[in-house]
Chain length 230, copies 2
Amino acid sequence: MIRVMVVDDQALVRRGFALVLDNERDIEVVAEAGTGVEAIEAARAHQPDIILMDIRMPEMDGLEATARILQPEENAEADATTSRVIILTTFDPDEYVFRALQAGASGFVLKDIPPEALVEAVRTVADGGAMLSPGITQRLISQFAQKLGTGRNLTERLERLTTREREVLAAIAAGKSNAEIADALFIGPATVKTHVSSVLSKLGLRDRAQAVVFAYECGLATAGGRDVGF
Amino acid sequence: MIRVMVVDDQALVRRGFALVLDNERDIEVVAEAGTGVEAIEAARAHQPDIILMDIRMPEMDGLEATARILQPEENAEADATTSRVIILTTFDPDEYVFRALQAGASGFVLKDIPPEALVEAVRTVADGGAMLSPGITQRLISQFAQKLGTGRNLTERLERLTTREREVLAAIAAGKSNAEIADALFIGPATVKTHVSSVLSKLGLRDRAQAVVFAYECGLATAGGRDVGF
DNA sequence: CACCATCTCCCCCTTTTGGGGGAGAGCCGA
DNA sequence: TCGGCTCTCCCCCAAAAGGGGGAGATGGTG
């Protein structure tokens, strides 16, 4: 049995969704909430499997509430939530979508979907998957492809480097100085300088800062993978 | 009427998909292909709305074929394809998914989905949307959230900078030298040095290369946005 | 074998960078 | 009005980086 909570400030809408879902044999609506604050409390109390969350709500919006429910940051005690959140809203500006995904939502569907699709989304997410409205999936893919995409022509340039030179470039992109690279690769500083020079020359770059940019742009280095503790 | 082409090296599988789709009132299978090379020719000849593409195929795999069909790069004349590609495969390693999205695919579904879901996917994509298997959507979201997410704690450090310093940091992250930054911001080189120094000092960085890394990690600079022509 | 690419290291040299001060002008809030 | 912040610029200096060349040691290939 999938235990669901419905969060929406409009009681009528809330009841509507709840009825649709409760009508399914494998789904049970165990709680409802009308504000973000209520949602947080109710989620703590009922520990639902799935939370259907509206965005626009008084007191605290659904995105903020989602973040707080899924990331018990503050008082990090005991509160390992297992709930998964599906954002269910009328609007879909990119900003909302990104914030929702950042907050940890497993779905983002628009309220204009047919009831069966909503039920299907609940089952999919309960099953460990994720569900986005087609148009949103589309935009997410575009964004993603864009971030990966530029790599194309740049990768060709990358291939002109020798293995060692790519290692050196990776080290540069990690923020290492020549001396540190020398230590890391067990070679002398002079050798590092040689490699750095040929990397810059082969790639048509001027200095190591540009090399870092190049590494990120072509995907040799990627944001999110590094501790910027230096 | 949605005009579909099915590409798979196994004739039996191909016919199976074709029959399922042809059975629908609004879908018509107009072509089939058994290799990547055939797929490219057939796509050119029949201009289908949707192409269902397997990955593992002799001669040329489905990802390469997808890229070539969607990006007429070489002879960039006249060949504005309007087809949209759904990758339909048994395997789903991340590598395939990313390459598929990079190649421009609008969907990535596994062959174990129920027939109705396949039909639904075709309609969704024909309608301008995109469709991914739930598990893949899940992973795509994770990847995406990760890239957006790290910015959190780093953004705090960013906020310690003054406006001007952030401008200078952005310029550094664009691969500019101090002299170029001076020109770009209409200030003297000495001033740039001052700003650079305080940026490094405030962020606890050692040199401009680390500053570039920081900018990418915290989202001030993002991959995909820049021409690495320098 | 000779050739070429790669990796390793050395020299000398110029430019850039980064750190350490100092200082004047403007702006804003106490 | 005064102190603090920011932006602007200056000085000197040491360290790092980058360019140019050379050179020995591999290893593979024609």
